[in-house]
C-alpha cells in the first residue's frame, strides 16, 4: 500500500512505541522542538512586524537615513540578514545537538535487525 517504501527496510519489525518512549528519543524530540518552535515564532513575528510597518507605518518606513536609502529598505535588507543568520544557526545546532543522537538511535535499531539466517536485513530503501 501507500508506504510500501518502508516494508522491506531495516525498521520493518521495530517496536516504534517502545523506541518513542525511551529517554534518548524523548531527549532528541525535546532538543528538536525547543529549537525550531521558538525560532519559528521569532522569525514569523519579526516578518509580520515588518509587513505591518510597511502597510500601516508608511511615514516611518519612508524616513530617509542615508541619501535615498530609507528605513523601509534597511528593514527589508535586515530580513535577508536574519534569514541567513537563522539558517546558519540551525545548521550549527543540528550538527552538534541533533545529528549525533539521531544517528545513535538509528544505529541501535538498524544494527539489531537480522533475518533468520543472521544476515543483516536491508537498509536500502528500494
Amino acid at each position: 500500500m501507500g508506504n510500501e517504501a518502508h516494508t522491506p527496510d531495516a525498521a520493518a519489525s521495530v517496536d516504534f512505541e517502545q523506541v518513542q518512549s525511551t529517554g534518548q528519543f524523548q531527549e532528541l524530540r525535546r532538543r528538536h522542538r525547543s529549537f525550531v518552535f521558538p525560532m519559528a515564532v521569532a522569525f514569523l513575528l519579526w516578518y509580520f512586524a515588518y509587513v505591518l510597518l510597511a502597510d500601516y507605518a508608511v511615514d516611518f518606513m519612508s524616513t530617509k537615513v542615508w541619501g535615498n536609502i530609507n528605513v523601509g529598505l534597511i528593514l527589508g535588507l535586515l530580513q535577508f540578514v536574519s534569514t541567513f543568520a537563522i539558517t546558519g544557526w540551525y545548521v550549527h545546532y543540528s550538527n552538534r545537538k541533533l545529528d549525533p543522537i539521531a544517528t545513535e538511535i538509528r544505529n541501535e535499531i538498524e544494527g539489531h535487525e537480522f533475518d533468520k539466517d543472521g544476515h543483516r536485513v536491508g537498509g536500502a530503501n528500494k
Partner: protein, 538 residues
C-alpha cells in the same frame, strides 16, 4: 545616466528579432540534448519521480533554487519593483523568509517519512484513501495555478522577443511552449528535469549577477544614486516608499497583509518543492540542499532589487507597461538596454529555460501525484506494477499540459509574481496545516486532515474565483463580467487561518482515534531517519 528615449528600445528590439531567436534557439537545443543524455537510465519509478535519490545536497539545492527562481522571481519581481517600487520588494522578502518554514519545520522530517509525494507523508498515520485523495487533489490544484503563471510568463517573454502584441499570436506562442514542455517531461523524467534546473539556475544567477553589476556600475556602485535615478525617471519619490500599489485604501492594505501571509507560508507547502527533498539520499543532504538554496535564492533576490529599480531608472515604467509582455517585460527590456540583442537573447533564453524547467518540474509532480496516489493506490488499490504507473504518469503529463496551456492563454498579461502568489495561497491553505499537524500534533486525525485540506482548498479557490483577479476590474481575466464578491486579490488571510481552524475542529470533533503505533512510527522515523537513510544502489 539619462535613459535612452523609451520608444527607441522597443523599436530597435524588433530589428533584432532574428538574432534574439537564434541565440535563444541554440540554448533550448543544448538543454534538450542534456535531457536526452540524462534520461538514458530512467527505469524504475524511483528513477522517474525521484531521480533514483542520487543527487547530492548541493546539486539538489541548486535544482531547488532553479525550481523556485521561476519566471515569477525573475520576470515578475523585477517587473513589480520597476512599476510599483517598494511594494514589489515585498515579494522578494516573503519568498525568501518562507524558506525558514521549510528548513526548520518541514524539509528533513518530510524526507525521512515519505517516498515520492506529499501524500505519502500526510497519509502515513491516517486513513490511506481519503487523505491520499485529498492530498493528490490539492497537489493538482496548486500545480495548476503555478503552471498558469509560468505559461503567462512564457507568453509575455516570447511575445516580446518576436514583437507579437495581438492576443491570437500570443495564444499560439503559449501553445508551442506547452508542447515543448510536454516533450521535455515525457523524455526526461525527474533526472533530466533536475539537470536542466541545475544548469539553468546557474545561468540565471550568473546572468542576473552580470546585469546587477552593470546597473550598479552605471551609477558608480552607489545604491542611493540608483534609487535617485528611479525617482527621477518615474518623476515620483514614492517609488522608494511602501504603499504605492497597496497603500491606497484600507482594503488594499489588507490585501498586502494577505499577500505577505501567503508568501511566507506557501513555500513549505508547494508539492513540487517538497518532492525535490526526495531526490537526495539522506535527511542531512535534504538539510544541506535547503541551506544551499536559501543562499542562492537570497543572493538572487538581492539582485532583483537592483534590477527592478534599474529597469525603473533606465527603461522607465511607462515603456515597460506599453511593451509586448507588459509588466513581465521589465527584465528583458533592461537587458536589451544594457547589452543589446546579445544580452537580451541570452537573458530571454535563460528565462525561457527557467519557465520550461519549472513547468516540467510542476508537471512531473502533478503526474506523480495522480499516478502514484490516485491511480496506483486508490484505483488499482496498490496492485499496479511500476511500469503501468509510469505509463499513467506519462499520460497525465499530456492532460495537465493541455489544461495549463488553456489556462495560460487566459492568464496572459497578468504579473507572473502575482499569479504565483495565488498558487502559494492555495498551497498554504490546502497543505500546510495538515503537514504541520501531522508532523507535530499527536492527536491529529483523519477527519481533521480531510476537513482542513478540502476546506482550505475550496475556500482559497472560491475566494479567487470571486475576487477582482477574475472579474470586476480592468485587469481581470474576464474584464467584461463582474461577480467579484470578495474584495481582496489574494485569499490567504481568510483561507489559511480557516484551514488551520478546520484541522483543529475536525480533530477535536472526531470520535475515532488514530493508531498510536503509527504515530510513534512516524515520529521516530521523521526525527531519526530510520529506514530512509540510504540511497538506492546502482
Amino acid at each position: 545616466m539619462i535613459a535612452i528615449p523609451a520608444a527607441v528600445d522597443v523599436a530597435a528590439l524588433k530589428d533584432t528579432t532574428l538574432l534574439n531567436m537564434g541565440i535563444f534557439g541554440l540554448f533550448v537545443a543544448v538543454t534538450m540534448v542534456i535531457v536526452f543524455r540524462a534520461s538514458r537510465n530512467n527505469k524504475t519509478a524511483a528513477d522517474y519521480y525521484a531521480a533514483g535519490r542520487s543527487f547530492t545536497g548541493s546539486q539538489n539545492g541548486t535544482a531547488i533554487a532553479g525550481d523556485y527562481l521561476s519566471a515569477a522571481s525573475f520576470l515578475g519581481i523585477t517587473g513589480a519593483i520597476a512599476i510599483n517600487g517598494y511594494d514589489g520588494f515585498m515579494y522578494s522578502i516573503g519568498f525568501l523568509v518562507a524558506w525558514l518554514v521549510a528548513l526548520l519545520l518541514v524539509a528533513e522530517l518530510l524526507r525521512n517519512t515519505g517516498k515520492f509525494t506529499m501524500a505519502d507523508v500526510l497519509s502515513f498515520r491516517l486513513k490511506q484513501r481519503p487523505v491520499r485523495i485529498a492530498a493528490a487533489i490539492s497537489t493538482l490544484a496548486v500545480c495548476f495555478f503555478y503552471l498558469l503563471a509560468q505559461m503567462a510568463g512564457a507568453g509575455s517573454l516570447i511575445s516580446l522577443l518576436l514583437g507579437i502584441s495581438d492576443w491570437g499570436g500570443q495564444a499560439l506562442v503559449i501553445i508551442v511552449v506547452g508542447a515543448l514542455m510536454i516533450m521535455y517531461v515525457l523524455i526526461g523524467g525527474m533526472k533530466g528535469t533536475t539537470w536542466v534546473q541545475i544548469i539553468k539556475a546557474m545561468l540565471l544567477i550568473a546572468g542576473a549577477a552580470v546585469m546587477t553589476l552593470w546597473v550598479l556600475a552605471i551609477y558608480g556602485f552607489n545604491l542611493s544614486a540608483l534609487l535617485g535615478g528611479a525617482v527621477e525617471t518615474a518623476n515620483n519619490p514614492a517609488v522608494l516608499n511602501p504603499g504605492l500599489q497597496y497603500g491606497k485604501t484600507e482594503t488594499s492594505k489588507l490585501d498586502f497583509m494577505s499577500l505577505g501571509l501567503a508568501l511566507v507560508l506557501g513555500t513549505a507547502a508547494l508539492p513540487h518543492v517538497l518532492m525535490r527533498f526526495y531526490t537526495v539520499p539522506t535527511a542531512k543532504e535534504a538539510r544541506k540542499s535547503v541551506v544551499w538554496s536559501i543562499w542562492l535564492i537570497g543572493l538572487f533576490y538581492l539582485f532583483t532589487l537592483v534590477l527592478g529599480y534599474g529597469a525603473a531608472a533606465l527603461v522607465g515604467a511607462d515603456t515597460i507597461k506599453s511593451a509586448p509582455g507588459g509588466v513581465n517585460a521589465a527584465a528583458p527590456l533592461l537587458a536589451f538596454h544594457l547589452g543589446g540583442p546579445l544580452l537580451l537573447g541570452f537573458i530571454s533564453a535563460v528565462a525561457f529555460a527557467t519557465i520550461l524547467a519549472v513547468v516540467a518540474g510542476l508537471t512531473i509532480t502533478a503526474a506523480a501525484s495522480f499516478a502514484h496516489d490516485i491511480y496506483a493506490n486508490v484505483i488499482a488499490k496498490g496492485k499496479a506494477d511500476a511500469a503501468t504507473e509510469v505509463r499513467v504518469a506519462r499520460r497525465t503529463v499530456v492532460v495537465i499540459g493541455i489544461l495549463a496551456i488553456l489556462g495560460g492563454i487566459f492568464a496572459n498579461g497578468q504579473n507572473v509574481a502575482f499569479l504565483v502568489a495565488l498558487a502559494f495561497a492555495v498551497a498554504a491553505s490546502a497543505n500546510l496545516p495538515t503537514i504541520i499537524y501531522s508532523l507535530f500534533w499527536r492527536k491529529f486525525t483523519t477527519q481533521g486532515a480531510v476537513w482542513s485540506m478540502y476546506g482550505g482548498l475550496a475556500s482559497a479557490i472560491l475566494l479567487i474565483v470571486f475576487s477582482p483577479v477574475v472579474s470586476g476590474a480592468k485587469t481581470s481575466m474576464i474584464p467584461g463580467a463582474n461577480f467579484a464578491l470578495f474584495p481582496l486579490s489574494n485569499p490567504g488571510i481568510v483561507s489559511i487561518p480557516l484551514a488551520f481552524l478546520l484541522g483543529w475542529l475536525g480533530t477535536t470533533l472526531d470520535k475515532r482515534r488514530e493508531d498510536p503505533a503509527k504515530q510513534a512510527e512516524m515520529e521516530v522515523r521523521s526525527l531519526t531517519g530510520i529506514g530512509a537513510e540510504k540511497a538506492v544502489d546502482h
